[in-house]
Amino acid sequence: MSFVQHALGIAWKDLRVELRSREIVYTMTFFAALIVVVFTVSFIRDARSLPNVAPGMLWVAVAFAGTLGVGRAFDRERENDTLRALLLSPAPRLAVFLGKAAAIAALIVAVELVAAPLLALLLDVSLFAQPGVIAAALLGGALGIAVVSTVFAAMLLRTRARDVLLPVILYPILVPLFIAGTRAVGAVLKPVPDLEAARYWLTFLGVYDAVFLVVSLWIFEDLVIE
């Protein structure tokens, strides 16, 4: 089996486990929807929710729900000590990492598919006037969050207080991603969509993903070693 097949196999395994129970997808998306609703009733002016906080809401909802899902996905591996088995299997460790990150990215995309339309509906913003830009921003954001949180969740697996520590160390690292994501979405939501700015921030997002993917590739093995 090749490297890519290993990675795809592990991603497919994770997704199949999830599709059997749908525990994470249901709780994550419902949680993201709740965050959006809480925000829409919290930021109000003149009996209406503020439309210009939509990009921020979107990314906060995705990040919170994503952290929840990642924590649960790795708890599942921990309960039966299956991550150790995965790492001991003949699959290369990087394939394990990439497979898990891909599965988590898929979960986050699922959350975004619920949160973004809900936000557009509740705040009455034309989020999908530029579907290409929004899709690229959501995908790039999901990839970045998935890569970084997979590294941290995997290395926190055997520590105490991991539920608290994961967001504590994850969010500062994700700050550039939030900046780029909110700016890209915000540029599209302007009265006259600023496509040039959107392209700049999408590039920024892509560079962020590439940089952290490379860093993760080089330190993941040293981090999860027994």
Binding site: R199, Y200, T203, F204, G206, A210, V214, L217, W218
Partner: protein, 169 residues
Amino acid sequence: MRTLLSISLMVGATIAAVGAWQGRADAQPAAPSAEPAAAPAVATEPGAAAEPAAVEPPPTGAPPTTPPAETTSATPLGLKHTCMAAINADQAWTDELLAFAQTKLRYDAHNDEAKLIALNKRHVILAYAVIWLLSVGFLIAMWRRQQALRGQLESLRRELDAAIKGSST
């Protein structure tokens, strides 16, 4: 495999970053150059400007009194002339402006400046107090850590002594 993937990703990211950076720089020719070592800079903010505003017509009346486009050019100088013409045409307005400039404005500017300097002195003292408090706090924390370590060593020594005594009897 990993090296190949890393190199290709980094090359792609660099090309994308350079392209975006240049596109951005073209769009904003006045973008300031990077100056990472310098501290936050000032001097262009109105709050800290040294010279009080000169006795120019205040901007309050400018936009509404701008006549239709055929009499003015869009340049700032043209707009200024338009405003001045409007002010000169209205004697009461001129008097009001002059009175404001000669009394209130001068006094306020002077007063504000004095206040600012006094306030800044307080800020400087505050900043130094913070620096020393934090440093002393750190030193105390380090000292306490050392005391704890000393205690640990002491207990370890006692336990070792007891263990040796126990094994010899």
